[in-house]
């Protein structure tokens, strides 16, 4: 019981930090060459009409989520947020790969060198992580998290 409690505490915490690092990295690399990111996003067959709006909101959301992930109080909400965001990214990739006339790329940094399959695996890995973290931090007595 004690060991389980420990895992319940440190796993969500680790996952949160991991996600936060990933989000900060992704958002920063997008803003680094923002113009290119905006152009690439605009060239995407899915988001054309919303490109400008999405180009800003994606890195901003990522920063906010990273911040919330590092805050004890909002961690659970932020984990749900990460799950939602990663699901959206994954859906986007699957749609682009299967249903669009051509395939663009709009990721930054190291992520740019990843193939689409690796990208999906990467996303799914983070989705699984956040689900695990959510399950662990809410299972058992909910007050345990607040105590720690």
């Amino acid at each position: 019981m004690n060991r389980l409690t420990k895992i319940q505490v440190w796993l969500p915490y680790t996952v949160s930090i991991l996600c936060a690092i990933m989000f900060i990295y992704a958002a920063t690399s997008k803003l680094w060459d923002f113009q290119q990111f905006e152009v690439q996003l605009g060239q995407s067959p899915i988001l054309t009409t919303y490109a400008e709006w999405v180009a800003w909101s994606v890195p901003v959301t990522e920063y906010i989520l990273a911040l919330l992930l590092l805050t004890e109080r909002f961690r659970l909400i932020a984990l749900y947020g990460s799950l939602g965001l990663m699901t959206m990214f994954t859906t986007y990739i699957i749609l682009v790969l299967n249903f669009s006339d051509y395939i663009p790329c709009s990721c930054g940094g190291v992520l740019e060198d990843m193939g689409w399959t690796e990208h999906i695996m990467f996303n799914i890995f983070f989705i699984v992580l956040s689900i695990t973290a959510i399950l662990l931090s809410t299972s058992g007595q909910p007050h345990q998290i607040q105590v720690s």
């Binding site: 905006e38 060239q43 899915i46 988001l47 749900y80 939602g84 699901t87 299972s139």
Partner: protein, 360 residues
């Protein structure tokens, strides 16, 4: 009880994520293709397919016609030319050669306009000319003008599209060479309203059976017909409703390049001109047209530019998932390049006139 609640929340989050993106996707898909403001008419069988000819490569482009024959240039083997006789299916491989063995070039385009053929590179820039049959390309025009598109009109005249050094916008012009090369630009023809380069992008066409030349805009419902001196301009509209190019142009990047910041809405993809007709390929859907059709065939709209009217439309079927990328009318045949195949169709009267008769 608590666990159940969490599962619902998790499922909810995931479905919300998926749902949102799918909705975005569907809405932008719809915006891209559907346009209920115009209606096409598809009469039965204005063209009938005769046969497909296997060319072996998908890098061929149409490099001119002559009576019953079509010349195909090859973008990966620029000095190679293929001559196909439409009625006999005979093919002849031709090797072109420059007289200057040290010739430096970047991207060559060959065009055959009997009795001459032309080898053009708008980036160097030069135009070589040689006699059909002899196939030796001699220096003809050098350094007169850079160009990004060129179409020989006759033995001495080349229609070009270039960037004007004064306006920095796309411009049509004619290089004429009797004794010495002479360049005439008309900056008033391509009327810009966004950047003057992307928004007025399009295709040069010429009437193989008359004196007219034309320019078909990619991103708006317009084409122009002119005489070979770029005079007597007639501006005509296609059946589409997009009057102004719907493109977005980004700012200069660090290398000074400018790119489109959104996929452009392409109205007209490629075109050809023959007799009194302009034929334009368009993927835009009109009223009561099924989007699934675009997976199997490409739509060709036929305009009678002499009368300034839309005539009719027909389908050009894809081969093994490949869309046609160029076509031309030769006499009472239509030829189309589809993947590594050359499709030969017969044009049917009364939809098309018999151009062999008109020519003489």
């Amino acid at each position: 009880m608590i666990a159940n609640n969490i599962h619902i929340k998790l499922l909810g989050t995931i479905s919300l994520g998926i749902g949102l993106v799918v909705i975005l996707f569907l809405s932008s898909e719809k915006q891209l293709h559907q346009n209920n403001a115009f209606t096409r008419s598809y009469p039965p069988h204005p063209v009938i397919k005769l046969y497909d000819l296997d060319l072996g490569y998908n890098s061929y482009y149409i490099a001119g016609t002559d009576h019953n024959e079509i010349y195909l240039g090859n973008s990966t083997a620029p000095w190679h030319l293929l001559k196909v006789n439409i009625s006999s299916k005979d093919t002849l491989h031709i090797e072109l050669a420059p007289t200057n063995k040290q010739l430096r070039y970047r991207s060559l385009k060959v065009y055959v306009s009997p009795p001459f053929f032309f080898v053009m590179d708008g980036t160097m820039p030069f135009i070589l000319r040689g006699k059909v049959g002899e196939w030796k390309a001699r220096p003809w025009i050098e350094q007169t003008a850079y160009f990004n598109k060129a179409l020989p009109l006759d033995s001495t005249k080349i229609l070009i599209r270039t960037i004007s050094s004064t306006t920095h916008q796309s411009t049509l012009g004619i290089i004429e060479h009797f004794k010495s090369p002479n360049l005439i630009l008309d900056t008033s023809l391509l009327r810009q309203h966004i950047d003057g380069v992307f928004d007025v992008d399009g295709i040069l066409i010429k009437n193989g059976y008359g004196p007219e030349v034309g320019y078909v805009f990619f991103y708006k419902n317009q084409f122009m017909i002119m005489d070979s001196h770029l005079k007597n301009v007639s501006r005509q509209r296609t059946i589409d409703t997009v009057e102004q190019a719907q493109i977005r142009v980004g700012n200069q990047n660090k290398k000074g390049q400018i790119s489109m910041s959104a996929p452009p809405l392409t109205i007209n993809k490629f075109a050809c001109m023959a007799g009194r007709f302009v034929l334009i390929q368009s993927d835009r859907l009109g009223k009561n047209e099924n989007k699934a059709m675009l997976d199997q065939a490409s739509i060709i709209d036929v305009y009678n530019y002499k009368e300034g009217i839309y005539a009719f439309s027909f389908y050009l079927y894809h081969i093994a998932g490949h869309k046609p990328r160029a076509f031309e009318i030769i006499g009472n045949h239509m030829v189309a390049l589809v993947g590594d195949q050359l499709s030969i169709y017969r044009t049917i009267e009364p939809f098309f006139e018999n151009l062999n008769i008109i020519e003489h």
